[in-house]
C-alpha cells in the first residue's frame, strides 16, 4: 500500500522491466512442472500407484476348505479333519517377558531353550513355533497376549479307529494330502480346494468391504465306504490274537459281501496308529492283504475242479485213483503224504485236499481250459479296486506250461495271488458262477458280475466246499454254530528268495456262509506261524469261524442250520496235503 502510495505520489522509482517478466516466467514454469507431475502421476504411473494404494487396504484372503470325511457304511466316521492352529512368530515383532516365555514353553510342552531360540531367530521373517496344536492349548497361548505371535489355521486328520482301520484308510501328510491307502486312492474326491477372496480391511484388520470372490472354496466330498466298522473291528481283533497266538510273522483278513463284492472289512496285523506323526517301518505300513503276493496252495483247487465240472468231464462222484499218494510226471513226483484210501471221488479230492487228485484232474484238461478258468476268476490281473499298490498276481501264460506246471498250478503252486484277489475269486461260488468286482465304496445296488461258471457248477462246488468244513474234512474248526459253511483250507510252503522254505508256511482259509445262500466271504491268511501248528485248517480256520459267526449275527442273517453242538472229529483233524 505504502509503496503504491509512494509511487503514485512520489517520483516513480523505475524497476527494470525484466524483473517482473522473470518472476512471471518462473512462476509459470513452476506451475508447468506441477501440471506435468500431476499428469505423470495420474496417467502414466497410475497403475503402480493404484496397486500400492490397494495393498495398504485391500487384501486377498484365503478361505480354507476342509478335507471330506471318510465314514463307514452306517455313517460312523473313520477319518475326520478338524481345524487346528499352527503357531508362528515374526521374531522381529516379538516382545516377550521371561515369565511369558516360561508359560509358552509349558503350554506347548517344548524345551524352553528351543522356544527362546526360535523366538529370537531374527534371520527369518517367519518361524513356526509349533504346528497343529489342539484348540485348548491355542486358547491358552492367545490369552498370554504375546505380541508378534501369529496363528495359522490348518487341518489335521484324526482316525478314531486307530490301528483297527490303519491299513485300509491309510493316512495323510501334514498338508492334508492322502499318502497311503484309501486316503490316497480317493484323494481327488476327498481333497478340498481352498478359495480366495479380495477384501478391504480397516486399520484393525476387520473386513470393511468384500470386493470380489476370486475363487470359491470347494470343500472335499464326504465318502461312505462299504466297510462295516463293527465287522472291521471283529476281523482286526481276531487276526491280531491269531497272529500273537501262533507267533506268526503277519496275518491278514478280508471280509467281502458275497453278493455285491463290497469290502466289509480288511485288516492286517502288525498294524500301526495312523494318528501318530512318526510312522513305522515300511514292512508294517504295507497292506499285506492287497499289495503282497503269496502262493495260495490248496485254496486254488476248487477252481481247477470247477473248470473240470464245467466242461462235463467229471461229476462230484467221479472216481480218481490217487496212486497211493505218489504220482509221477516225467522226473517230478507229486505227493499226497497221508493218503487214506486209493480211490477218491472228486468231492473227496476237495474235502481231503488231495494234490494227486487235483493234478490228475488238471492234466486231463487242456492247459488253455485250466488257464481260462483261473484267468476268468480274476487271477493274474488286478482286482480293479484301485487301491494304491494293488498287486496283480502272477499267472503264467498257458502256452509256456509244461505238464508239471499245469499240475502244480492246479493245487496252487507256480501262481501267486493277493488275499483280496483270492477272496474275490470265491464270489464265483457264492454268486451262482458270477465274479463280482471289488468295491471299497458303499453300493446302492450290487454291481453286475461276469459269468465264469454255470449255476449248476457253482452249486455243486458249494456242496463240495461244505464237505471240507465237516468233521471228516480238513477244516472242522471253521464250523459256525447255526450256519452252514463252505470253504477251503490252504497250506503252502512259503517262497523265500525264489525257493520253497522247508519249514515256513503260509496258512490260509477262504470260506463263505450261510452255504444255502452265501452272504459273506471271509479270507484269512497267516504268514509263517511259528508255534508248531501250520495247517490252514488249524491256524486260519478258527479265525474264520469266529469272525464269520460274529459277523453273521451282527448282520442278523437267519440261521440255516439248527443251533446246537458243533461236531468235531473223533480223533485228530484230517491233515491236508501241502
Amino acid at each position: 500500500m505504502n509503496y503504491f502510495k509512494s509511487t503514485q505520489t512520489k517520483k516513480l522509482v523505475t524497476l527494470p522491466a525484466w524483473r517482473s517478466r522473470l518472476l512471471f516466467i518462473l512462476l509459470l514454469a513452476g506451475m508447468g512442472i506441477l501440471i506435468l507431475r500431476a499428469a505423470y502421476l495420474q496417467s502414466i504411473n497410475n497403475n503402480f500407484l493404484q496397486q500400492k494404494g490397494n495393498a495398504r487396504s485391500s487384501h486377498v484372503m484365503a478361505i480354507s476348505a476342509h478335507r471330506g470325511m471318510i465314514a463307514d457304511r452306517h455313517g460312523e466316521p473313520l477319518a475326520i479333519s478338524t481345524p487346528v492352529e499352527s503357531i508362528g512368530v515374526n521374531p522381529q515383532d516379538v516382545e516377550v517377558t521371561p515369565q511369558q516365555l516360561n508359560q509358552l514353553a509349558r503350554i506347548m510342552s517344548m524345551d524352553i531353550k528351543e522356544v527362546k531360540r526360535r523366538l529370537l531367530d531374527t534371520t527369518h521373517d517367519f518361524v513356526h513355533l509349533q504346528r497343529q496344536l489342539p484348540p485348548a492349548q491355542v486358547e491358552q497361548i492367545v490369552k498370554l497376549g504375546v505380541p508378534g505371535l501369529l496363528l495359522q489355521r490348518e487341518y489335521r486328520r484324526y482316525y478314531p479307529g486307530g490301528e483297527v482301520t490303519a491299513h485300509l484308510i491309510g493316512f495323510t501328510s501334514v498338508d492334508d494330502n492322502g499318502q497311503e491307502g484309501l486316503e490316497l486312492a480317493l484323494q481327488s474326491q476327498l481333497g478340498g480346494k481352498a478359495g480366495s477372496q479380495r477384501v478391504i480391511q480397516d486399520r484393525k484388520g476387520h473386513i470393511a468391504e468384500d470386493i470380489a470372490n476370486i475363487r470359491l472354496p470347494k470343500p472335499g466330498n464326504n465318502i461312505a465306504l462299504s466297510v462295516d466298522s463293527k465287522i472291521q473291528y471283529l476281523a482286526y481283533r481276531e487276526i491280531k490274537s491269531a497272529v500273537e497266538q501262533h507267533n506268526a510273522q503277519s496275518g491278514s483278513i478280508v471280509v467281502l459281501d458275497a453278493q455285491s463284492g463290497e469290502v466289509l472289512a480288511l485288516a492286517n496285523w502288525p498294524s500301526y496308529n495312523p494318528n501318530n506323526r512318526t510312522k513305522p517301518s515300511l514292512q508294517v505300513l504295507r497292506n499285506h492283504a492287497v499289495t503282497d503276493l503269496f502262493e495260495p496252495g490248496s485254496t486254488l483247487k476248487p477252481f481247477t475242479v470247477a473248470t473240470a465240472l464245467e466242461v462235463g468231464k467229471y461229476t462230484p462222484d467221479s472216481v480218481i485213483n490217487i496212486e497211493n499218494g505218489v504220482f509221477r510226471i516225467g522226473k517230478h513226483a507229486i505227493h499226497d503224504t497221508h493218503p487214506k484210501k486209493t480211490l477218491l471221488t472228486v468231492s473227496e479230492v476237495i474235502q481231503l485236499s488231495s494234490n494227486v487228485g487235483a493234478a490228475k484232474i488238471a492234466l486231463s484238461l487242456s492247459p488253455e481250459m485250466v488257464w481260462r478258468g483261473l484267468n476268468d476268476s480274476g487271477f493274474g490281473a488286478q482286482a480293479g479296486s484301485g487301491f494304491p499298490g494293488e498287486a496283480a498276481g502272477k499267472l503264467h501264460d498257458h502256452t509256456k506250461w509244461k505238464p508239471v506246471d499245469q499240475a502244480a498250478i492246479s493245487y496252487g503252486h507256480n501262481i501267486s495271488v493277493s488275499l483280496l484277489q483270492l477272496a474275490r475269486a470265491y464270489t464265483v461260488f457264492a454268486n451262482n458262477g458270477e465274479l463280482k468286482p471289488v468295491s471299497w465304496l458303499k453300493l446302492d445296488k450290487p454291481a453286475s458280475g461276469k459269468r465264469v461258471y454255470s449255476d449248476a457248477t457253482a452249486h455243486k462246488m458249494l456242496a463240495m466246499l461244505e464237505r471240507v468244513v465237516s468233521p471228516e474234512g480238513t477244516a472242522p474248526l471253521a464250523q459256525v454254530n447255526g450256519y452252514r459253511v463252505a470253504g477251503k483250507t490252504g497250506t503252502a510252503h512259503k517262497v523265500i528268495g525264489g525257493h520253497y522254505s522247508p519249514n515256513r508256511y503260509i496258512s490260509s482259509f477262504v470260506g463263505m456262509a450261510p452255504a444255502s445262500s452265501p452272504r459273506l466271504i471271509v479270507a484269512v491268511m497267516l504268514d509263517a506261524p511259528a508255534k508248531g501248528q501250520y495247517y490252514g485248517g488249524i491256524v486260519a480256520a478258527p479265525v474264520f469261524s469266529s469272525v464269520m459267526g460274529a459277523a453273521l449275527r451282527q448282520l442278523n442273517v437267519p440261521n440255516d442250520k439248527p443251533l446246537g453242538n458243533i461236531l468235531m472229529p473223533p480223533t485228530e483233524i484230517v491233515r491236508e496235503e501241502v
Binding site: H66, M69, E76, P77, I80, S81, T82, P83, P135, Y158, P160, G161, G162, V164, H206, I207, A208, E209, D210, S229, K230, Y233, L234, R237, N481, G482, P514, S516, S517, A550, P558, N559, D560, K561, P562, L563, G564, N565, I566
Partner: protein
C-alpha cells in the same frame, strides 16, 4: 430457473448423504455377516470335534473292553441261543 437449480442442488446433497448412509449400513451388515460366518465355521469345527469324540468313545474296541471286563458280559453260546421268527418272516428266511 434459479429455484430449479436450488432444488437440484438440494437433491444432489440429499443423494450424496444417502450414499454415505447406505455405505455405512452395508459395512455394518457385512461385519454382521462376517461374524455369522465365523460362528458357522466355529460350529462346524465343534461339530467335527463332537463327532470325533463320539466315535472315539463308541469305538468297538472300547465297548468290547468295558462289556467284557467291567460288565462281565459275554456272547451266548450256541446252546443258549434260540431263534425266534416273527410272523411272516418265516417264509422269507432260509430253510435249515
Amino acid at each position: 430457473m434459479a429455484r430449479v437449480h436450488i432444488l437440484l442442488v438440494l437433491a444432489v446433497i440429499g443423494c450424496a448423504l444417502y450414499v454415505v448412509m447406505s455405505q455405512h449400513k452395508a459395512r455394518n451388515l457385512l461385519a454382521e455377516l462376517q461374524q455369522e460366518t465365523d460362528r458357522a465355521q466355529q460350529m462346524e469345527v465343534e461339530w467335527g470335534q463332537l463327532q470325533l469324540e463320539q466315535s472315539t468313545w463308541a469305538m468297538p474296541a472300547r465297548v468290547d473292553k468295558i462289556a467284557v471286563n467291567k460288565l462281565q458280559m459275554r456272547a451266548p453260546k450256541g446252546q443258549q441261543t434260540r431263534l425266534i421268527y416273527s410272523k411272516g418272516s418265516h417264509e422269507s428266511s432260509v430253510r435249515p
